[in-house]
Symmetry: C2
Subunit: 337 residues, 2 copies
DNA sequence: TCGATTGATGTAATCGATTACATAAATGGT
DNA sequence: ACCATTTATGTAATCGATTACATCAATCGA
């Protein structure tokens, strides 16, 4: 592997000149620059990253911490991050969250302390932490994506409150009055604005939010199945809701399935809306009415913001994306009676 | 950020001793070791990665190149890779394939030349390449995952041929005789063994493989929808197959939907099997009979193999995983007539 | 008790690129 | 024509950890 000295020798200049010709081309004479660039090309020279990082005190790497990669909503955000980071000359290190594995979190903190990355994109609500040390209080520049606001950190968010508001209004407009709300878990910070939006819409319609049924979920299929069971119990008691608001598509899809398996029809017997807009919402039966989050764009925006922050061109700010409702087959008029 | 010199001063020893106490504890006296470790703890010292990498000529990083992250089959492999790599003290850099973006491929080659990672996991059939330079002929250690064999590279594979063989046998056993096969595209290397397995089963039953219908797909939803259209055309001509073999779950699910929308029932009118075993196969309507690939395990095995190769403990070998058929709701007896 | 061997630690070179500072050449003003 | 300034390039220090080699003390055998 060619080193800067080899290039210098070949071009008949010093290593300093080679370095300058590459990183600050205007500072060398055009003829010299050509000599250097030719030598670089002939030798296939690429500066060694470790040496450069050591000297520069940065790595041009970003860490992305994601709760669950197999959730395609997160996967799409990561995809957007990768796109934008790579466009701007940064690499992306990825790590799946593991709240239970202290080892893995410690490994992350070590990588941070070792200077392996310059900043962090946190798709997770949880902050990697071991004892009292965490990424944030190591002074690591941070952007939160779809997770929460945090002083000193950037944030990329959806209009969460608006989202459930329009979602619920859509159902109210179809005549629904009795709802089941499947949350993302009280631990998840998005839960608050989303539930607020739901409650606001309910109140607008002159109904009591606290008389609606709320079920706790964790964004996974199992939560959806559990919610379906709850729904069926309620139905047996004669007090089933006619509409279900799930704040995650996977939960919505699993719930839909659980209900269909009991012989009920969607949307004739019960309507359901999801949240995220993953691809499968277009391929389940019926297609799922859902809030579409522009996941790739949000990822790209987050990476862009973080890189701006690293380059000192932007203060940790907040980027808010609008929520859109995609109406599909899973919602229909409330059944009579 | 504390440096090795700070630790040395605090412990009253030389930097060499600090380094030894950390990387080769047996080479220092127990009392000295304690002095050093105490100082390390008190100062919160972590060795700087760039300096260490520069000296050692390696980075303890792996690159994973993935075709499409939002495909949850790939996402699960990545998850397994991350798990195992992190367990063994390696980090994972991720990059989504972009056959059209020369820029991005060049970026990858630069990162490789810069020594940013020690080895590559390639989930993609395509090799990142710019002109005649590619990752492989830079001498980068390589493990292919579910993509193809390659001289000098490790490989983690499913018994592809077996998979379609048992899949097709299952359908034959249900009485099906007319098939549609949705491929993963002639460009994809898995296509060959998978199609072979299909043909072998067909031949076993005394049928002509080349009289079955073959449709080209690309593992995405759109391919499945297109295949459904083709199926409906064939049906209009009175020569519809009774069973569909799709070598990807997303294609199978989209195809299923296209067929259902035309008013046909699955599996009563037509049976369909998928390939991969993604979560959604359990949540579509009906649930999808499919080949289950142990994606996480395959990812972990691949990372393990690559790290063994890097540490000189193993030659690039081949790890083959068995295929299992998960029978679900999308397959049933062939319709009479 | 003396030289040889072993063990523990320190000194300093090294990895490869960047950049402050030094130097030399070229340009400009008067 | 001379000094001041600018421009281009070279020399060498630097980033922080690792490790070959040097050094010194302790142990051992005869």
């Amino acid at each position: 592997m060619a080193k800067i000295g080899d290039v210098a020798r070949r071009a008949g200049v010093s290593t300093a000149t080679v370095s300058r010709a590459l990183s600050n081309p205007d500072s060398v004479r055009p003829e010299t620059r050509k000599l250097v660039l030719d030598a670089v090309r002939e030798l296939g020279y690429t500066p060694n990253a470790a040496a450069r990082n050591l000297r520069a005190g940065r790595s041009r790497m970003l860490l992305t911490v994601v709760p669950l990669l197999s959730n395609s909503f997160f996967a799409r955000i990561v995809s957007g991050i990768d796109q934008e980071a790579s466009r701007r000359g940064y690499g992306t290190i990825i790590s799946e969250e593991s709240p239970d594995s202290v080892e893995k979190q410690a490994h992350l903190l070590d990588l941070a302390a070792a200077g392996l990355f310059d900043g962090v994109l946190l798709l997770s609500a949880l902050m990697p932490r071991v004892g009292r040390r965490s990424l944030a209080d190591m002074g690591m520049p941070l952007v939160r994506v779809c997770s929460r606001r945090e002083p000193g950190a950037g944030a990329v968010l959806l209009e969460e409150r608006e989202a459930t508001l329009i979602q619920t209004r859509h159902l109210l407009g179809l005549g629904h009055r009795r709802f089941m709300y499947i949350s993302g878990g009280a631990g998840n910070i998005n839960d608050i604005p989303r539930y607020e939006g739901f409650c606001e819409a309910i109140a607008e319609a002159g109904l009591q939010p606290d008389q609606q049924i709320r079920v706790e979920g964790f964004f996974d299929f199992a939560s959806g199945t559990a919610a379906a069971h709850r729904f069926l119990e309620l139905r047996a008691e004669g007090r089933a809701p006619t509409a279900i608001v799930a704040v995650g598509d996977q939960m919505a899809i699993a719930c839909m399935k659980g209900i269909q398996e009991a012989g009920l029809r969607i949307p004739e017997d019960v309507s359901i809306v999801g949240f995220d807009g993953i691809d499968f919402t277009n391929y389940c039966q019926p297609t799922l009415t859902t809030i579409v989050q522009p996941a790739e764009d949000m990822g790209a925006a987050a990476a862009g913001l973080l890189i701006d922050m690293l380059q000192g061109e932007r203060d940790p700010g907040e980027i808010v994306f609008p929520a859109t409702l995609r109406v599909a087959g899973s919602t229909g008029p409330a059944p009579a009676g």
